[in-house]
Amino acid sequence: MSDNVLIEARDLSVHYPLRGKSLFGPVQVVRAVENINLDVGKGNFFGLVGESGSGKTTLGKALLKAAPITRGTVNYNDGEEQFDLTNLTTAELKNYRKRAQLIFQDPYAALSPRMTVRDIIAEPLEVMGLTSSREETDERVREIAAKCRLNLEHLRRFPHAFSGGQRQRISIARALVSKPQFVVADESVAALDVSIQADVLNLLKEIQQEMGLTFLFISHDLSVVAHICDHVAVMYLGRLVETAPTRELFANPRHPYTKALLSAIPSLDPDDRGKAQKLEGEIPSPTNQPSGCKFHTRCPFVTDQCRKEEPILQHSSNGHEVACHRWEELMV
């Protein structure tokens, strides 16, 4: 594992057995994440995009050891501590939780309505035993609250008094108060209005640079990812289909799925109507996956090879990796 990589996943698969579907037949399995190889560099703002059902949340959870790892390995190494996530003792897991945190999507559901903002933010410190006195806890809470642009007056109130954007800043403070190295932000701005979304995105970026954090930013919104992330991975039906540095990916998308995703974003230009390359159909069910390339049922460039053989993620140029049999000929 190279020094500048914080999290390394090799052949990572997460499968969930479906119970109760068939009494005697074979147990059906949801292959939520399948054979993922992924390196998240230290200090990266790493974006993970895909449609609903593509497995991006499950992958994020697996990297936090919050989803069962069926196969493969995940290693974490921040220079001070390292963890092999497939093989953690309870004590190690507790330690890992201090290093790796999660920011949720819905700031309305994520905060307890019965706790003051101060208690919400202080709770991780108390649970993890990171501070020895109430004064120290208060100090840490005030410090992180200031970073998240919350003032002392805010700390005394309850969540209901806050708007969506403010609540999301509280969630961010709670996730960051234990000074983690790695943060998974799962659709953290999806529930916010555009005018507020920009504010929270700028805050995340600022904090990431200031604290030297590594972010895994999960989103379905490619324009948001394009603006905030420095590296992007595209998922489809549990597989990584393309990864590249952000600018490279958006300038030269190589996988037909990435191209279709990009062209499906509604353009702000009213005279640009109907130019989009439309994708037919919908994402297949993860219990009953197509053979070969998982995207072949919707791909406009499908061949017999695509129906039979599953393409593997291969390096092309400029740090770009793509899993498609035909990407080279499609570039022309």
Binding site: S52, D193, S195, L201, A260, P266, L268
Partner: protein
């Protein structure tokens, strides 16, 4: 073009435990047959309740202003919506002359009644068809919106369809009564971009074929640019700008509209940092006096913005804005 709908001085208040809330404040607009009007605004701006007022579909604690006049122009003559009191009277417009598509199709279909039965039921109420004719028309409509194997789907329940398919079924159901006016409340917000593109295409085709007027509510300016002929921008219950889609999106006049567009992450410009609109949308209980946007406006002129409500000023023939930057003689 023929006039389809006139909304004049719509004011709507709600009596709540915390006091009387003004949700819509003196909003006027009109719609021609075959025209698509986009209604844009953040959550809490009053766009949904404005559209629902056209069918008087707001809850019983709603109080309409005395000056409010909503006229729907049907072939049989104008209908004064505000004068309709009983639900039998309102049935002529609800589901008959006006149909509505909601944001969350799973929540809008009854879970224990098949899609087909729900479609047939409304046709039996709103037309003089018999059950056989209604069944035939419903299957034809499902087929028309691109649902394959329509006669099988007709017998299925909402949970058996995917999100995109459910929204198509919802559209088929809304259109089968051949409404004059369709209200679409965030119809693509819950869908993935690729499915959203399909649904937008479908709606564009259907407008051409059926020639009805559409009020398209969304917070996504990209979706507006792709679908609407004209746009009305709402903020905290007031209309702040309206005009043709090209004028409003290319040359926004109101500081709020400008701010919304600047806050939008755009793919073709990754270098400009995102600019949030400062602050949050105030609670409807604490509506600022004067211009409702004065608490967040970056172009504030001073006392005039805090004291008097700006009148609509003309930017170009088809483009009006309610902002003191554009009018001198403001009303108290």
């Amino acid at each position: 073009m023929t006039r389809l709908l006139d909304v004049e001085n719509l004011t709507l208040q709600f009596d709540t435990d915390e006091g009387r809330i003004t949700a819509v404040d003196n909003v006027s607009f009109s719609l021609e047959a075959g025209e698509v009007m986009g209604l844009v605004g953040e959550s809490g701006s009053g766009k949904s309740v404005t559209a629902k007022s056209v069918m008087k579909l707001n809850p019983s604690n709603a109080i309409y202003g005395e000056q409010t006049k909503i006229t729907l122009h049907l072939d049989s003559g104008p209908v004064d919506i505000m004068s309709l009191k009983t639900s039998t009277d309102l049935q002529v417009v609800r589901g008959g002359a006006i149909s509505m598509i909601f944001q969350e199709p799973m929540a809008s279909f009854a879970p224990a009644i098949s899609i087909g039965n729900q479609m047939v039921e409304q046709l039996l109420i709103h037309s003089d068809m018999n059950e056989k004719q209604a069944t035939e028309l419903s299957i034809e409509m499902l087929d028309r919106v691109g649902i394959s194997d329509a006669s099988t789907r007709f017998k299925q329940y909402a949970f058996e369809l995917s999100g995109g398919m459910r929204q198509r079924a919802m559209i088929a159901m809304a259109l089968s009564t051949k409404p004059k006016l369709l209200i679409a409340d965030e119809p693509t917000t819950a869908l993935d971009v690729t499915i959203q593109a399909q649904v937008i295409d479908l709606m564009k085709d259907l407008v051409t074929d059926f020639g009805m007027g559409i009020i398209f509510i969304t917070h996504d300016l990209g979706v507006i640019a792709q679908t609407a002929d004209k746009v009305a921008v709402m903020y905290l219950g007031r209309l702040v700008e309206q005009g043709s889609v090209r004028d409003v999106i290319r040359h926004p006049a109101h500081p709020y509209t400008k701010g919304l567009i600047a806050a939008l992450p755009q793919l073709d410009d990754l270098d400009t940092p995102l600019t949030p609109i400062p602050g949050d949308i105030p609670s409807p209980l604490e509506r600022p006096p004067g211009c409702v946007f004065n608490t967040r406006c970056s172009a504030i002129l001073g006392d005039v913005c805090k004291q008097s409500i700006p009148k609509f000023a003309t930017v170009t023939d088809e483009h009006q804005v309610a902002c003191h930057l554009y009018n001198e003689g403001a009303s108290k």
